[in-house]
């Protein structure tokens, strides 16, 4: 059966700008917003949009991602004619196996997978964006404008525009030019890295691009400019909802803090659930002397200390007299008695021993930043971790 649209999710990036948090895991499987991992957002968007076939392209430390996605059951993607598939690089006949050398090459190497489903269109997604988007609506616009490619775009400030891929749009509403990080932006429409391609056209461009030895095999740098140069029709799909790239420590922290506001992004809307795979834990116990204000908590926590403006994942322990402020605590972290965690991100199963201090409030100096501890780090009792520090697992605090 021919499918109208299938999705390919680019989850292969190392996420090197998340440093210690992606030391052992791929960026899409970094915990986010209490209950989730980053990849839950695009996967849930697919399921909610009626896209039931998703290829997940992985190559950097995929073990956790593989077991997390499993059969796709938490996202209702365990269907018989479709489903969610992990697609690592593999060896083909008469050639050496090779890594994905760019975003376009990753799709090129999986042409056979896509052909299995014989789709009319292919949705290309990133594994590091937090947003709720109805791809079915985008597909309707794509079909209505009869174009080779529809790119989701968002209005940004001129200052932000200098750091993003910008779409210059003509009077007819179609995109005539794509500029990566322009010094002098001529448009305020930034690409969100969400593309719907007509599959027949995309396949032709992927093959041509693969045969071009000078190409970087990248959608933004090679495929899209080539399509524009050939006069293909490109339509900008304007998206006005919440959308954040969480590729850096600061943006990851910021986006977590955004989850404290239901006006920015409402995760409680039953019509658009973001689903996740999470172990069953008893409800969170909040003790006699605990104080929790303006925060997110997840099941399995034991809170006896003070938690404010923070996001707590499952099974976090905050002991008596401990203080957690403006911080993101990933699953299984322990903050022992009298310890202070301020403006920090603590990776999975991090232990902050009694009386230790991690991070400080902003002081206006250039050196300030969010303090980060990677997974399984133990910060010894009494130790002080300064603002902006990056502690890797293996280092002892």
């Amino acid at each position: 059966m021919k499918k109208s649209c299938i999705a390919m999710l680019l989850a292969g990036g190392q996420g090197s700008r998340l440093y210690a948090l992606t030391q052992d895991v791929a960026k899409p499987s970094v915990p986010f917003g209490g209950k989730y991992r980053i990849i839950d957002f695009p996967l849930s968007n697919c399921a909610n949009s009626g896209i039931d076939t998703v290829g997940v392209l992985t190559q950097y430390r995929p073990l956790q991602l593989n077991s997390y996605i499993g059969t796709g059951q938490p996202w209702d993607l365990d269907v018989s004619d479709g489903g969610v598939y992990i697609l690592p690089p593999y060896q083909k006949q008469d050639e050496k196996g090779s890594w994905f050398t760019g975003t376009a090459n990753a799709i090129y190497q999986n042409i056979a997978f896509i052909e299995n489903y014989n789709p009319e269109n292919v949705l290309i997604l990133s594994g590091d964006h937090i947003y709720k988007m109805d791809y079915a609506d985008m597909l309707r616009e794509h079909l209505a404008h009869d174009c080779a490619l529809t790119i989701a775009v968002q209005q940004v400030s001129m200052e932000e525009a200098t750091r993003m891929g910008m779409m210059n749009v003509g009077e007819d509403g179609y995109v005539y030019e794509f500029e990566e990080k322009p010094k002098h932006p001529r448009s305020d429409l930034a690409s969100m890295g969400v593309y719907i391609f007509n599959w027949e056209k995309l396949r032709a461009y992927l093959i041509a691009d693969e045969n071009d030895p000078n190409s970087g095999k990248d959608f933004g740098h090679n495929i899209i400019p080539a399509m524009l140069a050939n006069g293909e029709k490109l339509w900008p799909y304007r998206f006005e909802g919440y959308w954040r790239d969480v590729g850096t420590i600061t943006s990851l922290w910021d986006a977590n803090m955004d989850m404290l506001s239901t006006t920015l992004i409402n995760l409680y809307d039953p019509a658009w659930p973001i689903s996740s795979r999470s172990p069953v834990c008893p409800p969170t116990y909040v003790g006699e002397d605990a104080r929790i204000v303006h925060s997110i908590i997840t099941e399995g926590c034991e809170i006896d200390g003070h938690v404010e403006n923070s996001v707590l994942s499952a099974s976090v322990i905050v002991e008596r007299g401990a203080k957690v402020v403006y911080s993101v605590l990933m699953p299984g972290t322990v903050v022992k008695a009298g310890a202070t965690v301020e403006y920090a991100i603590l990776g999975e199963n991090t232990v902050i021993e009694a009386g230790a201090v991690v991070g400080t409030a902003p002081d206006g100096t250039d050196g300030w930043g969010v303090a980060t501890c990677g997974p399984n780090v133990t910060v010894p009792a009494g130790k002080v971790i300064p603002a902006g520090a990056m502690i890797y697992s293996g280092e002892e605090g």
């Binding site: 209950k35 069953v280 008893p282 409800p283 969170t284 605990a290 303006h294």
Partner: protein, 370 residues
Amino acid sequence: MSKYHGIIFAYSDAPELGDLTRERTVASLPFCGRYRLIDFALSSMKNAGITDVGVIMARDYQSLLDHIGSGKDWDMSRRSGGLRMLPPFGLPHAHSGNYAGTVEALNAVAPYIRDIPQDHIVLMLGSLLANIDLSAAIAQHEAGGAEITAICSEGSSVGVNHHYLVDDDGFVNGIHLYRGDSAKGLKSLEGYIIHKNVLLRMMDEAAARNHYAFHRHAMLNFLEDGGRMDVYRHEGYVCAIRNIEQYYRASMDMLDAEKRRQIFPTSRPVRTKTHEEVSSYLGEHAVIKNSLIADNCIIDGEIENCIVFSGCRIGAGTKLKNSIIMRGVTVGENAELSYVISDKYASFSDNTRLNGNAKLPMVVPKRAAI
């Protein structure tokens, strides 16, 4: 495949639970923020590697079916074997509508029992609140050489019906039926490890004599005929919930760290149906003390000594004390509730005042709007 097959009794109703079991069996009574009582029996079996399980039910089982589904949350959705829900195949006419006793329930599904491929069967109550280490019980059963091993508790266990007296060798030589909490002997948790043929023989004899009760008839006959019954002593919290006061007390007991650890040990996790959920948000005015809070809640009020299930909305200025608030309940602003058990999806408007009592908590039925 495990050598053991599980049978869970989920047919019992308890009139003393009133509105809480009007539309559900005791086994599907919501407990501790996100669970149903039957989760404990299902999880005990799953944690012992038993995934071929039959659940015997008689009536009011819609909520039970909805909760258990295919059994996939307990890894019991299997191509061969797995979970089987066993509704009545047809009761004798002029029947009360429920099984008069355990043997009658077993005989009603006798074809299923006969076709069980395993030689050994574990029987458990679907309404018992306990996290039983069935692997340890099975190991003891296999080492001991008795035909039946009964799962018992030595400690305080509320709501237990029967007691076992044991001889010097540790085998059961007497049963005290319906003597209440104060009776002597080991408290029966009505869980048994039994050879399939022994069980079938007991069922046949009972059917021939028109007997329906397991303990009063079948078990006493078994002992009189010289049958050997060993006991496995379960350590840890136990409650056989049969009335509202027991339900309330068992719920509040989960606020105690040690009791909570006994019911939810990390080595034997309790599984339940997973819902689409999101973390809970505690707002600017939230003050929470000594309470259990499940996921998907938005709370801006004051909560003390409460169990709050998933999906609740608690407005600013509202005070909840000593209460159990089940899934999807909405409480407006400036309301005050104490000693209330609110069933699912009830709603309380702004400024509502409701007070129950520790001995008689006020039960608000499912979907009630106050």
